[in-house]
Amino acid sequence: MVVFLRDLLRYRAEFRIGLVLVAIVLVLSMLASFSPYPPDSVYVVPPDLPPSSTYWFGTTSRGQDVFWQVSFAIRNTLLFGGTVALVSRLLALAVGLISGYKGGWIDRALMSVNDTFIVIPLLPILVLFYFVMRDRISWLMLALIMACFGWAYDARLIRSVVMSLRHREFTQTSLFSGMSTWQILTEEHLPYVVPILFSTTMNNMVWSIGLEVTLAVLGFTDINTPTIGGMIYWANQHTAMVAGIWWWIAFPTIAVIMAFIGLFLLAVSVNAHIDPRSRLWSTGEAS
């Protein structure tokens, strides 16, 4: 694992850039704990001030400091993406491991359901969900329902890895030495799946955060919890662009784009590094 990370740092420029971007965003989100104002209070600072030395990112029309708002928002947004990724990873792992290892009709049945979840357009269903829940919709509920939809594509990836492992000799050996299916999957096959798990986690976060931003911008989430989408929602409600208060939209947008590109670059570089052919190609070129 250490060697893996060291090689990534040494040979992958994408990984380095991604790491820097994600680190900036993480530091910004951790600063939220030091905020002088509670996140949901309004009119704590003079409204509509442009960026200055006192208010680094300016202030909103609701009298909030944009810097601290962005900090809270990016923290909540990342936590949201992390929750969705964690729960959906568990589902993807379970389905991928079982489907790939068992094969046969179990595999066919699971993959049919899997493909269904890949294809179904999620956004209308989430909008419908908001429509029936209205104000009762909570952060966690939305994360859980997204996780129920976000596992399918990655389950397929994990399945394909496990399928190739199934025919390897060590699987036979462990089977003959009396290991149970559960033991084989968790002790023998899981380590091979971990790098993919890492890169799909990043991709999954990009996906879920994108959807959350979208829903929040339309006002279809719990808009009182500050998130990046929620900030843009309130800015739109106060017609910030027309009023010339560009900093209210620009800073959350920049923060979230940095998070997106950072996470995506991490995922891409890890993915490329897993593939031995492209690893040879890049390390060979760099040396």
């Binding site: 994408e14 049919s112 359901v113 493909d115 269904t116 979840f117 890949i118 294809v119 179904i120 357009p121 999620l122 956004l123 209308p124 269903i125 909008v127 419908l128 969900f129 908001y130 429509f131 029936v132 829940m133 209205r134 009762r136 594509y153 990009v206 955060i209 994108g210 959807l211 931003v213 979208t214 911008v217 339309l218 279809f220 989408g229 843009i232 662009m241 939209i249 947008t253 979230v256 784009i257 997106f260 590109i261 996470l263 995506f264 670059l265 891409v268 490329a272 052919r277 492209s278 190609w281």
Partner: protein, 334 residues
Amino acid sequence: MSGYAGYVGRRLAQFLLVVFIGINIAYVVTHASPIDPVEQSISAVTSFGNTAPDAIEQMRRSLRELYGLGGTPVEQYLTFWKRILSADFGPSMSAFPTPVGTLIGRALPWTAGLLAVSTLIAWVLGNLLGGLAGYYRQSRGLKLMGVIAMGLHPIPYYILAMLLLILFGFIWPVLPISGGSAMDLPQTLTVEFVGSVLQHAILPALSLILIGVGSWFLGMRSLVANVLAEDYVVYAELAGVKSSRILTSYVMRNALVPQVTGLAMSLGGIFNGAVITEKVFGYPGLGSLLVDAVYAGDYGLVLGVTTISILGVSVGVLAIDLLYPLLDPRVKVS
């Protein structure tokens, strides 16, 4: 031929499964809510002034019927399916008394047209450039394109659409930023109308294409890189086959197969993006209809658009799946 028939049969079964699970999810979502939509609507109405108790009772009954909440859970479930199969979502509450079906029928061609054209352009362009980038790895221009694709691809549709809107709406206002066609033109098949439709479609299509191209580009580039290492490509090179021919008939053609599967698989996600793009640019398609229906509290319309979306996307996937054997002849044999 029996191989092909078997393939078609399996794809049809998958299509039915998608529709079945999709509709069931819609049912669970609408019926698992702790809020009674009927009581909510009634309290919204009765909060303005006095209403006679028997009128409220009548309203409650007709609303229960409208929401399909009468009878036992089994009956409710069957009613739900009956309505969907007969495409009967009742009258729209926000555009009373126009039936929901009419509203959806009006919006559907806009979405289908925008989606089909932009997806096709993005797919063809992304695969073509990605294939070239994978083949000519040293080209600086194509490397740069890879960097741009990596930067654009992860940005969510909403953010990109908003950036385009700001760029072409405020900073450099050259393109219409809202609507499907000019307001003052009758919707008939004249040159003027078609031109106006195309002009209005540029920005929403551009935002869909910009994000789509990136993912096809990156996918195709790595696929081509893998195919290049295959023995038959090395052999073709040694045999002196022209490099343009190797690229098109040996490398790209084989790399395209997973990209077609990818297209079928990402159709749902592309549709999600179109919903947002339409809302941002005020495009008169299903997406705008859906969002406006939520704002207006129109239950029948929201449910109608959701089920039609599930159905429409599944039909699209089925269509791609059925075209798939044209590209991959192995399907016909197995």
